[in-house]
Symmetry: C2
Subunit: 148 residues, 2 copies
DNA sequence: ACGCTTTTCTGGAATGAGTCAAGTAAGCGT
DNA sequence: ACGCTTACTTGACTCATTCCAGAAAAGCGT
């Protein structure tokens, strides 16, 4: 587990590399998402406030948008949930979501090709295949058995 | 192209088969979605009102939920859009969405197995693999070329 | 260190999808 | 046709998110 300082330094470096100014809220958002991936805007705001003190809601939204735009964050919007963000970008990985508790786990793309080439493209030019697996996480499986 | 009456009769039959009461709003919603698949709640409401007269927004939402629950409709929520519905159920087909105009096309699942079995399941028990392809539809490709 | 530029703050308001609650209407089995 | 049960109506309401505008603060190249 890296220290907060290591995470902050790394976040600052990524911001600079992307040509963005290094500001406390931006670093805070990146650190928050390293600590808790797939968090929504509200959760990110709470994390950032916990470590930085007062940060406006607008600032959080601004930062999330700016960093997503710059390619430092990836935004995902699972059905039935608000927008969520993660720092793992650049590899088109997929997600596994628990139907019961909503926890999200990353999944590496199994076989690259099959998912990217549907039988009929209807003339579409595709640039991304987004895969979401739905099911029950280990905890919720046992919880369900106890009820039954 | 089937007539409205054929669509209504068919919709009523499906409702009865599912053990649901046959009401005008329900039939209207099913017909609307036969005519325009992947419509959102608001679009469905407009279609239904055009053919039935006044129908409350709440009724439309209730019907969409009830029919989804009963398995007569499938609900999808693409990123950046509101919930959309379709009458094609029972075959876990996928979707292709145009980033520019938002049009949605159905896609048969290419190779059944590969998409359903990620490398690492992290202990999850999966029941569905949802695949969304993003790209440009034929119309928007030409539109983009004209701009460039 | 200075000053220009970008970012953030305050805070208020609007939007739009969707939900809750309680009363009214309608389907359908008998 | 009756009446029970389910569905629909009405209207207020929540919630995430966006927009707005001006003022204050902070980053960073020189």
């Amino acid at each position: 587990m890296p220290t907060d300082e290591e995470l902050r330094d790394d976040a600052a470096a990524r911001l600079r590399a992307a040509g963005l100014r290094v500001t406390a809220p931006r670093v805070g958002v990146l650190v928050a998402l390293e600590r808790e991936s797939h968090a929504d805007a509200d959760t990110v705001a709470r994390h950032v406030r916990a470590s930085l003190g007062a940060v406006s809601t607008q600032a959080v939204y601004d930062v999330l948008h700016a960093l997503t735009e710059a390619g430092l964050l990836r935004r995902m919007e699972p059905a039935g949930s608000t927008a969520r963000y993660e720092t793992r970008v650049g590899d088109n990985h997929h997600h596994m979501i628990c139907r019961r508790c909503g926890v999200i786990a990353d999944v590496d793309c199994a076989g690259a090709a099959p998912c990217l080439a549907p039988a009929h493209t209807h003339g579409f030019v595709l640039d991304e295949a987004e895969v979401t697996f739905w099911g029950l996480c280990p905890d919720c499986q046992t919880a369900n058995e106890e009820i039954a």
